[in-house]
Point group: C2
């Protein structure tokens, strides 16, 4: 008997999911991780304001959340000094990528990105049958000049960059980003993923072609709640509103995100905690021969010297019930990636690294 | 200056959103609704177990939710006597529609549905450029025979039906549905939206081509939390896992959904409350000359006799701070649709209907 076939595009996609979740390893191991330092989640947790707002919100989950996220957007309007129409709220940056891809990318379109940078983005490009054009890192940083050049050369539909970048942790300042934007062809959409920018001072860049993305998953400690936003010129964002599920953003997450923004000291407080804890992490990694790269995020790359050693460390740490990840592609594949943790996490990590002895 | 263009498909889509949210009306009115009976939300709220589980979950939103929803799926495995691979959990049925459309529908594909049935489904078909083929209701019910016939005639990629149906509230039993399934061509995907089936006894139907959809938004009172699931043969569901954002389901919602299922009396209790409150609603509507249709859901259609009168009632009730909706298309466009409410809601509704006097 014949059966319904997926689209030609989806038929060709691999079954593999982008990456294995820590819970999947835990089920395999039959025990929990002692330190969960693989997904750049915030060990500092959310604002107490957010917990309070969400504790109230879960008492009445029977009402759909506001599909226009008006209250949350009003706080964003103030924060960024823009208008309501400059924002689209979505269920995480990945969810917003789905909508950007559906709104802008068609089969045959070329999308330029950095080889090895946030591979999940590529997953959404593949899903709509667009073609990835990948430019290597340069000195372990996103190569802005080559990205812009390639965008021009291949008449790219879009160019993607994460700033700060994941998994390298490196950063370009606002001037460099604005200069990059100015080099990109007029017809090319610029997708600027700023998931980790909250850990630094904000910068201003502007362009008609720009979609910037922010999340409450990282500094704001709400990865499980699924709330993020895109901002840019209303005309550039408007196509997303033609295709997104309008009631997709959780009401509890909206309440938590709003309350986080209203906790005005929170960002500075976490920036400071993160800075100190990242410093301790770098020292720890160096002590075990894993030379740390300077990082503008809440994770640190440690140089294991070779891909084989880096892979062995990740696997062996897992056996010691420590969850970390590593970049898959050169030149970053000889590094391990460890998220900022608590003192307890570091004690567990140090003990495990000693045990692993690689 | 030229700028990035959305895809050809998305360029042609209207700017309009599927429907206006009650919050948007409230902002316009400058005041809150006294009765919110327009979105078939559950006035009975969620299980106390769910509130407790979510109250705990919001204390630690910093961790991503399990992308495989293993614990929730394990409860579903028990409930439906299937395997883990028979399920995909998603952020609401609308969210799952996005994935079904992306996985299965390409431009030129024909998708058969009932004219006037859950119009949001059409929105997701339009978003990927597939062609809608719409079959009229027959005696105010989904016309199973004509749906199957049309699916054969137009070599449909998929056929959609909601059972119980929204907005008619009518229902076909399991035998009728199985008979329908048997008439549909082998190559046609069958999308069976059972958002409201929890209000009735479950039935068993089986087919390789079938994707059934359930939600925690209706009987389980968790519309704001955004959690639903698709189930069917693993091979039929598997394409969804190639394109969905794997971390899209809120951890808080997953905890709440699991706890709801573990509250074994909850479903029967709400079914009974809903049955009684629906009876009261039917009596109320009849009293005001809005002859009620029998409903298998948590809402009731009341016959206003004409489209113009139905529209006037909806608009005028809004001025009395009562939020209801109405179907847009014939033969249901002469009805108003009112969700089951509390006694307080009904007191407000009765007073407003008297005031409106249409």
């Amino acid at each position: 008997m014949s059966r319904p076939e997926p689209t030609r595009i989806v038929s060709k996609l691999p079954d593999a999911i982008p990456f294995v979740a820590p819970e999947a390893y835990e089920r395999e191991m039959g025990t929990k991780f002692l330190a969960r330092l693989g997904a750049n989640e915030s060990v500092f947790g959310p604002s107490p304001n957010a917990i309070q707002a969400m504790t109230e919100a879960v008492r009445n989950p029977q009402w759909y959340g506001d599909p226009l996220s008006f209250e949350l957007k009003s706080a964003l309007v103030t924060k960024h000094n823009l208008t309501n129409d400059h924002f689209v709220v979505g269920p995480g940056i990945d969810g917003l990528f789905t909508h950007i891809a559906s709104a802008y990318f068609a089969p045959g379109d070329r999308v330029v990105t950095t080889l090895g940078s946030y591979p999940t983005f590529n997953y959404f490009v593949d899903a709509v049958g667009a073609e990835l054009v990948q430019v290597p890192y340069r000195n372990l940083k996103v190569d802005l000049e080559s990205l812009a050049k390639e965008a021009k050369q291949c008449q790219a539909k879009a160019v993607y960059l994460a700033n700060p970048d994941n998994p390298s942790g490196t950063f370009h300042d606002g001037n460099a980003i604005q200069h990059f934007i100015d080099q990109v062809p007029d017809e090319t959409l610029i997708i600027l993923d700023e998931a980790y920018l909250d850990f630094l001072e904000d910068y201003e860049v502007a362009d008609l072609r720009l979609i910037r993305l922010r999340t409450f998953s990282k500094l704001y400690g709400m990865a499980g709640a699924r709330v993020a936003y895109a901002f840019g010129e209303p005309e550039t964002l408007q196509p997303l509103n033609r295709i997104r599920p309008h009631f997709e953003v959780n009401s509890i997450a909206q309440a938590g995100a709003l309350a986080s923004l209203q906790d005005h000291d929170f960002k500075t407080k976490i920036q400071e905690k993160n800075r100190l804890a990242k410093y301790d992490l770098a020292i720890l990694l160096e002590k075990y021969g894993l030379y740390p790269l300077a990082s503008s995020t809440n994770f640190v790359l440690g140089d294991a010297g070779s891909k084989a050693r880096a892979e062995a460390i990740v696997t062996n740490l897992r056996q010691e019930r420590v969850f970390i990840r590593k970049p898959g592609l050169a030149p970053l594949d000889q590094y391990i990636r460890v998220s900022v943790g608590t003192e307890e996490d570091y004690a567990v990590l140090a003990k495990a690294l000693k045990q692993v002895n690689l």
